[in-house]
């Protein structure tokens, strides 16, 4: 080891229009080590890596590679400096082949024409090096998710990177695929590549990392060396408080009548034989790895996806499979999407207009005209209840922080007045303060007799908030775990296809 680390990021600050995402952060990484980066959603991990990948530029601070100061204004510069980046979400073009994707914008030419034979050959070399077999001519869209990810890694490895950034690479992988990925990462490490590994799965980090840096609210919360790395220590550093402080106390909850009853639901290609109930005053958590059918299940219940079998009953009233989303809203269902910017909010419209959008029929006169003062009053009531920080309801929601945007989403559904509210990723991308108010409002709603369903990929949130947890694996329910028995180990086992335990009530 030389006197200075290979990568040295010091005093890094990044602000976005008034929001400080990173606050004088230091981070370094050696060649030939796996350095894990952990922290809650919004702690600044991805922002830091985007700075390194050239997708963002720091407001303050310096980046040094091998002792020399570098500027990374764009991804190509980072690439030229030997930094490979495997993103959380796939960046592949699904209608191109594996080889075409791997050489995208770095194509090998001979006499101005694509040299397909050489490119194919290079793919096979990478296959050899990493010990897997990707068909260079396979169309990426036809590959399994795990193989698409391998293609991404192969693309990064192709550039012979000194540093490889992996942003939550295992979110969509099965246990077996994760094992295979780890073997590849260890191989790369032993070949002298420095790997920066971002993950929410702490047991993975314990298993894999040589060193861990913990982030909290845009700051370094500490560093652990191999041997000192344990889940408990990481959680304490991440959260800065014990779990019981940020989640509402739900020990006094007594569920009431059944509000939502789902029997034998089949969503083609996504979920099979799903049965569960939601009672008044209860929070039911749907867990599992990404893409195991939990999202499709709730979207089918809400009428956004077609289902070919099963029966859905809301407050004893059966819902016809052909019933529209609007009809289901009138029956008492509500759904807060996980993607509030993409399919939730109308960003250039006001808080008022966004809040009333699912409840316009509640504020019209007998001539079918919107009663402006009534709309204003009801939207104001919800905004006030949710403590949305804004000088005026006429503020465009695009100008609000993530936390306040999420509150607008909740306000919309509170105004619509559902009996069962499904909240998909209740706290994705929002700060800790807003998180706690979201938890608080969900808790309050159940006290008023609403039934809540949450979907979350954050295991701690799932455990902290749910009264009952249903685990999904490959489109099936694999376990129903009551609050008292919910541990990460138990849930992880179910998330990886462990036996179904307990029975759905």
């Amino acid at each position: 080891m030389s006197e200075h680390p290979y990568l040295e990021m010091s005093g890094i600050t990044k602000r976005f229009a008034g929001v400080t995402a990173l606050d004088s952060v230091n981070f370094n990484c050696e060649l030939g080590e796996i350095h894990a980066l952990v922290g809650e959603n919004g702690a600044g991990k991805s922002t830091l890596m985007n700075l390194l990948g050239g997708l963002l530029t720091p407001t303050e601070g310096t980046i040094r590679l091998d002792g020399k100061r570098v500027e990374l204004p764009d991804p190509n510069t980072s690439y030229d400096h030997g930094i490979g980046f495997v993103h959380q979400e796939s960046n592949l073009l699904t209608n191109l082949t594996v080889a075409e994707n791997m050489f995208l914008s770095h194509e090998i030419l001979r006499k101005g024409v694509l040299d397909r034979a050489t490119m194919r050959q290079k793919v096979m070399e990478v296959n050899e090096r990493l010990g897997y077999k990707l068909d260079p001519d396979a169309q990426v869209g036809s590959l399994k998710l795990a193989d698409q990810q391998l293609t991404e890694i192969a693309r990064a490895v192709l550039s012979e990177p000194k540093l490889l950034i992996m942003d939550e690479p295992t979110a969509a992988l099965s246990e077996e695929e994760v094992e295979r990925l780890f073997a590849i990462l260890l191989k790369l490490r032993d070949q002298g590549v420095g790997i920066i590994y971002i993950s929410h799965r702490l047991e993975e980090v314990v298993h894999l990392a040589d060193r861990v840096t913990v982030f909290k609210d845009g700051k370094n919360a500490g560093e652990l060396e191999r041997g000192d790395i344990s889940k408990d220590r990481m959680i304490t550093m991440m959260v800065g408080r014990t779990l019981s402080d940020i989640y509402p106390d739900r020990s006094a909850v007594t569920p009431g009548e059944v509000l939502l009853d789902v029997k034998g639901l089949r969503v083609p290609g996504a979920a099979e034989d799903i049965s569960f109930t939601v009672r008044a005053g209860e929070i039911v958590g749907l867990g599992g790895l990404e893409g195991q059918g939990q999202r499709e299940t709730v979207r089918a219940i809400f009428g956004d996806l077609r289902y070919t079998a099963g029966e859905i009953t809301v407050r004893g009233q059966s819902i016809a499979p052909k019933q529209t989303i609007g009809g289901r809203i009138r029956s008492g269902l509500g759904y807060v999407t996980h993607d509030r910017r993409g399919e939730g909010l109308i960003l250039h419209e006001s808080i008022r207009e966004n809040t009333s959008l699912a409840a316009l029929e509640r504020v019209i006169s007998k001539f079918h005209l919107i009663k402006g003062d009534e709309e204003q009053r009801q939207a104001q009531a919800q905004a006030g209840r949710l403590k949305i920080k804004t000088p005026s309801l006429e503020q465009k929601v695009g100008n609000l922080s993530g936390g306040n945007q999420q509150k607008v989403m909740l306000a919309r559904w509170l105004m619509a007045g559902p009996k069962v509210l499904i909240v998909d990723e209740p706290t994705r991308g929002i700060d800790v303060g807003a998180r706690m108010s979201v938890y608080e409002i969900i808790h309050e709603l159940t006290q008023e007799g609403m039934g809540i369903v949450i979907l979350t990929s954050d295991m701690l949130e799932l455990i902290g908030l749910s009264d009952r947890i249903l685990m999904f694996y490959e489109g099936h329910l694999t376990a129903e775990v009551p609050r008292a028995e919910a541990t990460e180990e138990r849930l992880m086992q179910a998330a990886s296809g462990g036996k179904k335990e307990g029975s759905a009530t």
């Binding site: 109308i346 250039h348 316009l360 306040n404």
Partner: protein, 321 residues
């Protein structure tokens, strides 16, 4: 956790564009006044508004379609088709006006339904689908007339297209502005209007709020075709005869009017009054060009440049944000 400082609510881009447009209109009047002293009068402005009314009505429909995230290229053919059918059924007699209007409205409805089915059931891009209808309608009126249309506009319709209600105020201007007022009320004060904006801005979000996205979009094509029929009747009354080239300019001009008026081509943004001003502006500009003896060719170039300029301006504005 720092909440960003919230700036006082600025004028929306659409509102800004309307203010600019109003300024440009005044500027054009000023130029005209300098070149031909004494020619700027209420009567002349009213005359422009009379000429603009058919375009203005088409632009209302175009604005609705664009708000919903689509585009309607069949409006011009619909105007000509209306002219050809209405005139041949009327044969210059007032008693034939009801059947003539009824037939034209039915044709409009049919055209709107065909566009709606193509775009929303068969998932054809609005641009392509309405281009097809445009060309089919052209074929229909060419076959129907055998290339030489005949008939006369009835006196009553001539009066509507040309005459004045009181003083210098033309009937057609009143009809145009009444329809604009109606559309404004619908957009501003009804759930339908709110939903249309949501559908054009973020169809996925609209869907998850229980809005029947397809139905709303479908309805815009029907409204657009029906408004084109109304425009065709007004234009027929204005020219008093039948013409196979009557609708030629309406695609470009209606797009120009809508875009100049501050509506965004990608949907979800804009309103009615901007497109009213836009239609007026286009006619004023053409009148000025005619006064300067710039012929048809010049008009076409100016038309293209205006659409280009406005859309490019919107793009630049967006990038700056």
């Amino acid at each position: 956790m720092t909440e960003r400082k919230l700036a006082p609510r600025n004028l929306s881009q659409s509102a800004k564009q309307m203010v600019i447009l109003l300024g440009v209109i005044l500027l054009l009047f000023a130029i005209q006044g300098i070149m031909r002293p004494g020619s700027v009068t209420v009567g002349q402005a009213m005359n422009i508004s009379r000429q603009a009314s058919a375009l203005g009505v088409v632009a209302l429909g175009q604005a609705l379609v664009i708000l919903g995230g689509g585009i309607d290229l069949s409006v011009g053919s619909m105007v000509t088709l209306t002219n050809v059918f209405a005139v041949s059924i009327m044969q210059g007699k007032d008693e034939n006006i009801l059947p003539a209007v009824a037939v034209c409205l039915l044709l409009g409805l049919l055209c709107g339904v065909v566009n709606g089915i193509g775009v929303l059931k068969l998932n054809i891009a609005p641009f392509v689908m309405t281009l097809c209808t445009m060309s089919i309608l052209q074929g229909v009126y060419l076959v129907y007339t055998g290339g030489s249309p005949s008939g006369n506009v009835s006196p009553w319709l001539k009066q509507i297209g040309n005459g004045f209600l009181v003083g210098p105020i033309p009937y057609s201007t009143v009809i145009w502005l009444t329809l604009a007022l109606l559309v404004w009320v619908v957009l501003k004060f009804t759930p339908y209007g709110r939903k249309l904006y949501a559908v054009g801005s973020n169809p996925k979000a609209a869907r998850l709020c229980g809005i029947r996205v397809e139905r709303i979009k479908f309805s815009t094509y029907i409204l657009s075709s029906l408004l084109a029929v109304v425009a065709g009747l007004l234009a027929s009354g204005y020219i008093g005869t039948t013409s196979l080239s009557l609708g030629n300019d309406y695609i470009n001009n209606s797009l120009a009017a809508v875009l100049i008026g501050g509506n965004a081509i990608e949907g979800g943004k804009g309103g009615v009054w901007g497109c009213v001003l836009g239609a007026f502006f286009m006619m004023l500009l053409f009148a000025l060009l005619t006064m300067l003896s710039i012929g048809q060719v010049g008009k076409l170039i100016v038309q293209g440049l205006i659409i280009f300029g406005v859309v490019a301006g919107q793009g630049v504005f967006k990038k700056e944000r």
